[in-house]
Every structure is written in structure tokens, then in C-alpha cells.
Amino acid sequence: MTLIDLANPTKFLTLTARVLPWLAALTAILLLVGLYQSAMAPDDYQQGSTVKIMFVHVPNAWLSMFVWGVMSLAALGTLVWRHPLADVAAKAAAPIGAAFTFLALVTGSLWGRPMWGTYWEWDARLTSVLILFLMYLGLIALWRAVEDPSRAARAAAILTLVGALNLPIIKFSVDWWNTLHQPASVMRMGGSALDRAFLIPLLVMAVAFSLLFVTLHLAAMRNEILRRRVRSLQMMQASQRSA
């Protein structure tokens, strides 16, 4: 089975039907391991137990950006190759991405209260993530507002690509402006600055959440393909009746 075969919706459905249970199981296991490890992680000498919020906050924050990246790739697929499966991938990813972004915002706020003494601050990092969230909502609204899916797909693709400009702003906002939020410590030039006791649970959780995304995304794509099949069958039904 080559990549080209995968691009065929029917093949996609058969393949994912086989892969999904395994993926789901692996995700569940990794999530459990990650949860156990984060429960066992020591308290930070500065942040106390609140450091545990990191294990959910950071993976969700990473994924919020990663999902937009996935949607941008799908957008290229829509515009350049006009591939229907790319439309499906983009549409299915948006609500999941919005959920991750929402979690990044909420857990960030919950962490901010003990650390900075406020839930919300209008600084560059926080605000650019909020903009990301608004753009996710805008995209979802666009998908829902437009009846014809291929038309919506092309508009959404362009908007996604334009919105991708926000990603570097989120990533580098902490370096460009002095903000409350801490600068990158895990993924940065010259190795991680994080203690292994925190790094390992964090990485496990990050992998687990990424797998969660892959699983949910594949499942949502299946739903979307079925939804389109329903739509085209209903159209056929309508025109058969007229004939």
C-alpha cells in the first residue's frame, strides 16, 4: 500500500479501520504512563506542586501550534493538488486544534494565578495564543457557514495559510518581547535546560498527546468522509426523484 493509495478515500477508510484500534490502545497506555510519571514527579523548589501543571500545559500548547501546522499542510494539498482528502483533513483538525488551544489557555491561566498572581495578562505570548484560538473559532465558523464543502475548503485553506504567520509570532514572542511567560527551555539551541525529573514525564506526555491527536484526527476524518458520502447520496436521491 503506497501513499498514493492512501489518498483514495475508500482505501483510507479500510486502512484506518485496521490501524485505529492499535493507535487508540497505544495512546491510552502512554497517557496512563505519563499521568503516573507526572504524579510521581518531585515538586519544583520554586514552583512547588504547580509544576505539575506543566505536564498538561506544555503538550497542549505545542499541539495547538502543531495542529495549525498540519492544517497548513492540508491547505497546500487543497490549493495545489485540489485533493479532497486534504479538505477532509483540514476540516477534521480544526475542532481538535481548538480544543487543545483552549486547554493550553486554561491550564496556562491556572498556572499563572499562583505564579504571576493573575489569571490573565495582555502580554505577547498569551495574546498571540488567544488570537490562535480566535482564528480556530473563525475557521470552524467558516466551515459551518458554507454549505458547499469544496468551496469552503478553498477559502479555509487560504485563511489557514495566512494564519500560519501567527505561529512564528507565538513561538518567538517570548524572545522578541520581554513578557511574563518564560522562554523556551525544552526545545532550544544548546540542549534542554530542564531537569531530567521533569523532562521525562513531560516528553512522555507530549508523545501521548500527539498520539491522541493522531487518533482523534483519523477518526474525525473518517466521520467527515462519511458525512460527505451522506451528502452526495442525498443529492443523488434528490435528483433521482426529479428524473
Partner: protein, 58 residues
Amino acid sequence: MSLGPYASFVVTSYVLATAVVLVLIAWIAIDYRRQKARLRELEASGITRRSGRGATEI
């Protein structure tokens, strides 16, 4: 495991994260059921796909 003075924040984060993930999963599962049910209805009304396969067939 004692969580100190900020236990509520930590617990809330974890609970919220779990809740949102569960909602996502539930939404996707329900959506799947709904689409399948509609396909079955359509099949029952005698509609076939261009490929000749039944509506619910993969």
C-alpha cells in the same frame, strides 16, 4: 502525594484536560454513529453509490 497550597489549581487543570479530551472523544464517537445511521437509512431507501456498492459498505 501532597500538593501543597495550590492543589486546587493542579487538580482543576488535570480535571479540565480530562473533561475536554473526553468530550472530544464522545463527540467523535457520536458523530460516527450518526453518519452510519444516516447511511443505513439511505441504503434502506434504495440509493446506491456510483461504484455500485451499498451506502454503508466501505
